[in-house]
């Protein structure tokens, strides 16, 4: 293994299922010591990419490397890479402890890590319980426990926060930050963009199997520009006035208006000219979510919602 190689690298990766191109000429890197968010709308090819990366599916073209070598050539892969994928399941008739014992045997790992990872993921009290009785969140925790068994250098996590309660999400966020700080690399796909924004240093955004962008979160949000946030008790009238000035206006969930296409000074002038009272007026950098929508929005179709299950 090349000690200077990126934790994960995809070069010209393509994966076709018959005539359907799930991934097309995709190249990206995940540096060591970072958390990289892997983003894309449903069907963008995130899970397919992860499966190819982990040797579970073969690429149609291109190659993927983990720590400088294809996954299949890693020595003791569970000590190098921990993965929790949506497609990974558990035998319902097996206990959590037995599932981890099986993984230890398969991965040539010491079984004394079992109690540690069960404690880390808050599953200690369910060690002897059969998986069939587990909630989705508990299965997610068990998947994370499995991924952490080998104390790997790289984590590949597919929607790991799905089903976790708020405490679990907070634990995961803190854990991933510490893990990256200690030199580990994480590739995490998630449709909870606010979560990704809080934990990721970098993002790789794909759509329809193609790379849209990759870089730091700050670069991505900066590239998406900034907008003006304005709040008024006469929001409908203000919106009408701003739209007459060719601004793009969107109402936010909190009732304020997000204005694109006009500087903050001009928004204030228009409000004053119309005699509209303002309660708030400021510039705001785009969030990761706004940057994501800007990159992936399909002008010809309905907006893609990243909060819907079933990504491929």
């Amino acid at each position: 293994m090349d000690p200077n190689a990126p934790a994960i690298e995809a070069r010209g990766l393509s994966k076709h299922y018959g005539p359907v191109a799930a991934v097309q000429d995709l190249s990206f890197t995940v540096p060591r010591g970072s958390v990289t968010g892997f983003l894309g709308p449903n069907g963008a090819g995130k899970t397919t990419t992860m499966r190819v990366l982990l040797g579970l599916a073969s690429p149609t073209a291109g190659e993927t490397m983990v720590l400088g070598v294809p996954y299949g050539r890693l020595d003791a892969p569970l000590r190098r890479v921990g993965a929790a994928l949506e497609i990974t399941g558990f035998h319902p008739g097996r206990t959590a402890h037995d599932h981890l014992r099986v993984t230890c045997l398969e991965g040539d790992l010491a079984t004394d890590r079992i109690d540690t990872v069960l404690t880390m993921t808050g599953m200690s009290e369910f060690a002897g319980a059969k998986v069939r009785g587990f909630s989705f969140g508990m299965r997610q925790r068990l998947a994370l426990a499995t991924a952490l068994l080998g104390e790997p250098q790289v984590l590949v996590l597919d929607e790991p926060a799905n089903g976790l309660d708020p405490a679990g999400v907070a634990w995961l966020r803190d854990f991933l930050r510490r893990y990256a700080k200690d030199g580990g690399a994480v590739l995490i796909s998630s449709h909870i963009l606010s979560e990704v924004a809080e934990v990721a240093d970098r993002v790789v955004v794909i759509d329809r199997g193609r790379l849209l962008t990759q870089g730091s979160v700050s670069e991505l949000t900066a590239a998406a520009g900034e907008h003006v946030v304005v709040r008024s008790p006469s929001a409908p009238a203000l919106r009408e006035a701003l739209e007459r000035a060719d601004a793009e206006v969107a109402e936010q969930p909190d009732g304020s208006l997000a204005v694109l296409g006009l500087p903050v000074e001009r928004v204030g002038e228009i409000a004053a000219a119309e005699g509209i009272v303002l309660h708030e007026l400021h510039r705001q950098a785009s969030t990761l979510e706004q940057a994501f929508f800007a990159l992936t929005a399909d002008p010809g179709g309905p907006p893609v919602r990243p909060d819907v299950e079933g990504s491929t």
Binding site: G55, F90, H91, R94, L105, E106
Partner: protein, 250 residues
């Protein structure tokens, strides 16, 4: 490889399916043995061509009836392979061991002793029941080395059934298709085929290859040839399963 085989054995031991199948097989075995013992020597038994248990050969036949366990072994071995896809554990398995031939080999080497153990249990149970039966009837149970050899033969039959079934399970992936396909083949297709063409029987993967390790049958090959045929079938099934598995995504 040893730890992978241990992992496969743990996968079997850590669920209760094996216990249910073993119990089911032994119950069926016991019912058959008790029926034979009860009917042997009676008018009903004579009509059903059931001979009284008077000699070593009769005891051997009783022991060979334990090969009914092979049906349950087929189900267990096919499940060892197909459960990985039914429950999505194949991804974990291949993440730990990306070399698919190693996973398949470990499944094969784990299935063989499991099948053998089932067969030994299935072959030994008739002896236990017969021993108790003869004790109650104050008779002497015919017993000797050939009876013990017959127990081993049932073990070989079941080990072979396990080896073949685990490979077919890997190749087919679908639990329902694999189990129904294997049982349908062994219980319906083969008997039907060689009732029409007798000479086919010796080549049949189940009855033909296993047959020489049971009751004597002039239609079958000798034991050495049958053993070679067993190895050839298992090797072919293993190779086909591996060939398919290497080409398919998880």
């Amino acid at each position: 490889m040893t730890r992978l085989i241990r992992a496969e054995l743990l996968k079997v031991r850590s669920t209760r399916l094996w216990l249910g199948l073993l119990a089911g097989g032994l119950v069926l075995d016991a019912v058959g043995v008790i029926a034979v013992l009860a009917l042997a020597g009676t008018a009903e038994g004579a009509r059903a061509q059931i001979q009284p248990i008077t000699g070593i050969e009769d005891m051997q036949s009783l022991v060979w009836s334990g090969s009914v366990l092979s049906i349950f072994v087929v189900v267990l071995a096919a499940t060892m392979a197909t459960a990985e896809y039914r429950y999505g554990t194949a991804a974990s398995t291949y993440l730990a061991t990306p070399a698919r031939w190693r996973v398949l080999s470990s499944k094969l080497w784990a299935a063989i002793p499991i099948g053998f153990a089932f067969g030994i249990a299935g072959g030994a149970l008739p002896i236990v029941i017969a021993f108790a039966w003869f004790a109650v009837k104050a008779g002497a149970m015919p017993f000797g080395g050939p009876v013990l050899v017959a127990v081993g033969e049932v073990g070989v039959q079941c080990a072979y059934a396990a080896a073949l079934s685990v490979c077919v399970g890997v190749a087919l992936r679908s639990q329902l298709v694999a189990i129904l396909g294997l049982l349908g083949w062994a219980l319906v297709v083969e008997p039907l085929a060689f009732s029409l063409v007798h000479s086919l029987k010796r080549w049949a993967p189940f009855a033909g290859a296993q047959g020489p390790f049971g009751a004597p049958d002039p239609l079958l090959f000798g034991r050495l040839t049958a053993a070679g045929l067993m190895l050839a079938y298992v090797a072919t099934a293993w190779y086909v399963a591996l060939w398919l598995e290497r080409r398919r995504d998880v």
